[in-house]
């Protein structure tokens, strides 16, 4: 297993290299000359000479691979350049906002699991009953709701009308509720559907029949034999959901004035703060890759088939 983990981590190297190439390439999508933008951001007039001087200074006239090498070298030293807008190191800016985003996405993930697991499982256990139909329709509707819409409606209801939850901002647990629900709801719907099919699959398996034939209590059959098998594949999906949540966080953070990287990224997009956008893409990729790594590792621990088959 150790060697599996080792290889799994080793495998990240080429992937991260590719990620870095794409991230680097992103800047070339943008209209306009970075030198010019920097000059403007500094309140200076981008005259032709000034641009030329700055281009030379920034090495923008070097061949792309040299620029890439230089950039990568910087990235490896956690130097993602400086924000055009704030003039501060991008890494620092992102790091300081990352905890807020992680807090939000993790809370949403937890909410998603809390909502989706019982919903998915109940609707599988009571399939073709009212519970199931309502669950299925609810899940489909949930997956069809635009998140920003839901967010604004939730604020209006729970904060303005009922006044039981804060409208916005990051703070205690009560601040987390609405954004996490907004963010997690759509994914929960998707997740519940996946769990339902997974559970139905498992319930049709022979070993479930065998467990019943052995005279095990139904609780035991579901809780021990069915659940574990049904939840295992769902674990992999957790990693993917995390990616979706990171994406969805952008909108939710903007609505709820949540001081995270997503909101920062949107602002940076509108300010054409390219180093920040670049850094954001890279950061999210790293977080996502690490999350998936975590999921894979936990999967290895959870699933004996993988744990014991690899290596040793």
């Amino acid at each position: 297993m150790k060697s599996y983990l080792f290889r799994r981590i080793l495998y990240l190297l080429p992937v991260m290299l590719g990620v870095s190439i794409i991230t680097f390439a992103l800047i070339n999508l943008a209209p306009g000359d970075p030198a010019e933008i920097i000059l403007r951001a500094d309140g200076m007039e981008p005259t032709a000479e000034a641009v030329a001087v700055l281009r030379e200074e920034l090495g923008l006239n070097d061949p792309l691979y040299i620029q890439y090498g230089r950039w990568l070298w910087g990235v490896l030293h956690l130097d993602l350049g400086e924000s055009f807008r704030t003039g501060r190191p991008v890494a620092e800016e992102l790091f300081s906002r990352l905890p807020a985003t992680l807090e939000l996405t993790c809370a949403a993930l937890v909410f998603m699991v809390i909502l989706a697991v019982p919903a998915g499982i109940l609707s599988a256990l009571y399939r073709h009953t009212l519970v199931d139909h309502l669950g299925r329709l609810g899940a489909l509707a949930g997956a069809s709701l635009p998140g920003f819409w839901l967010g604004l409606v939730l604020i209006y209801l729970f904060s303005v009308k009922l006044g039981i939850l804060p409208v916005m901002g990051r703070g205690g647990l009560e601040h987390l509720v609405l954004p996490a629900v907004t963010l997690g709801f759509g994914m929960a719907a998707v997740y519940a559907r996946v769990l339902r099919t997974g559970m139905l699959d498992v319930l049709g398996q022979d070993y479930i029949k065998v467990a019943r034939a052995k005279g095990l209590k139904e609780k035991w059959v579901i809780g021990r034999h069915a659940l574990k098998n049904a939840l295992l594949p769902a674990v992999t999906l957790l990693g993917m959901s995390f990616g979706h949540l990171l994406g969805g966080a952008v909108i939710v953070e903007t609505i709820f004035a949540w001081p995270g990287v997503g909101k920062f990224a949107v602002e940076s997009i509108f300010n054409r703060d390219y180093p920040v956008i670049q850094g954001y893409a890279l950061f999210m990729a790293v977080v996502f890759v690490l999350a998936n790594l975590l999921v894979d590792i936990s999967y290895v621990f959870l699933d004996p088939r993988i744990r014991l088959e690899r290596g040793e």
Binding site: Y207, A213, K214, N229, L308
Partner: protein, 324 residues
């Protein structure tokens, strides 16, 4: 035969209600098994063997439904038992072994856990005691080094070992009846021979009754004392193995026996036509379209299973000139 039947199945009917119509997977199935004896249940794929087995344990799930019948064991009708008591019977009185030992074992639990939980859920024993008994059981089904084995997961075992584990699981509470649903179909012949021998030995030791489901006439011949031949959801012939093989009464049994290739035999006479679908079966004898001896009488209602000799019964109009 004056043997006392342990399990008595009477007029068991199980139907599936699907979009396309009703599938009469088991239609008024009746048979008995005596202690220490083996009943072989043979028939083509889809004729209702597994459904019958599952119905006995009441493991049928929607869209299937057990319509009628009685399953007598120890003086109780399993089909009428409240769920709590039924659970007590399952595993302790009747055990089940499936065809595919890989899918029958939960892939994420160790062998030891899966075996021990059977014991623990029926008897007030400590975990340690349960595991001790599991080890003993594993030795008994011919698996060496049980301590190590108990820590393994199903995928780490070979097919034969898994099937032995399944047997150990089934036998862990010394059930009176063992239902083995094609226990060796997935295995190679050499391994099949090992497993069958093991089964025979354990039956002698424990004195249990076995219902052996298979479509391999050879396995029936080797293992069973009595045989029941199923066709399209119903038993068409039932009787002591030697009699049925030597003097098959039902045209289907006869045709089947002639269509199986044997070492050294020169001609094969196939059963014509296709096996029927159990969907919306006609009212008459289901074998009629394939029957070489069909006559006008066969177009009437479905024939009943009737005695044609001691312990030997068949369901065919040609055997009994119409009485009514």
């Amino acid at each position: 035969m004056s043997l006392v039947p342990v399990l008595k199945v009477n007029n068991l009917s199980t139907h599936f209600h699907t979009r396309h119509g009703v599938i009469k997977a088991a239609d008024r199935v009746s048979f008995t098994v005596a202690a220490g004896k083996t009943l072989g249940l043979v028939g083509e794929s889809g004729c209702g063997k597994s459904v019958t087995a599952l119905s006995i344990l009441r493991l049928i799930e929607p869209p299937g439904r057990i319509l009628s019948g009685e399953v007598w064991l120890n003086g109780c009708n399993l089909l009428k038992l409240p769920p709590g008591q039924l659970r007590q019977v399952r595993g302790r009185e009747i055990a089940l072994v499936f065809q595919d030992p890989l899918t029958s074992l939960n892939p994420v639990l160790t062998i030891g856990t899966q075996l021990a939980e059977t014991i623990v859920s029926h008897e007030e024993v400590s975990r340690a005691e349960a595991r001790r008994r599991v080890a003993e059981l594993l030795l008994r089904v011919g698996l060496p080094d049980p301590e190590r084995l108990m820590r393994l997961y199903p995928f780490q075992l070979s097919g034969g070992m898994r099937q032995r584990v399944m047997m150990a699981m089934a036998l862990s509470l010394r059930p009176k009846v063992l239902i083995a649903d094609e226990p060796t179909t997935a295995l190679d012949v050499t391994v099949q021979a090992q497993i069958l021998a093991e089964l025979k030995r354990l039956q002698e030791e424990l004195g249990m009754a076995i219902i052996l489901i298979t479509h391999d006439l050879g396995v029936v011949a080797a293992m069973a004392d009595e045989v029941a031949v199923m066709y399209a959801g119903s038993i068409v012939e039932r009787g002591p193995v030697a009699q049925v093989f030597d003097r098959p009464a039902h045209p289907y049994t006869r045709a089947l026996l002639r269509s199986v290739p044997r070492l050294g035999r020169e001609e094969l006479v196939p059963v014509v036509g296709q096996p029927p679908l159990l969907l919306n079966l006609p009212a008459h004898c289901a074998f009629l379209p394939r029957c070489p001896q069909a006559g006008a009488a066969c177009w009437g209602e479905k024939p009943e299973l009737r005695e044609i000799g001691p312990g030997h019964a068949a369901a065919c109009h040609r055997l009994f000139p119409r009485a009514s």
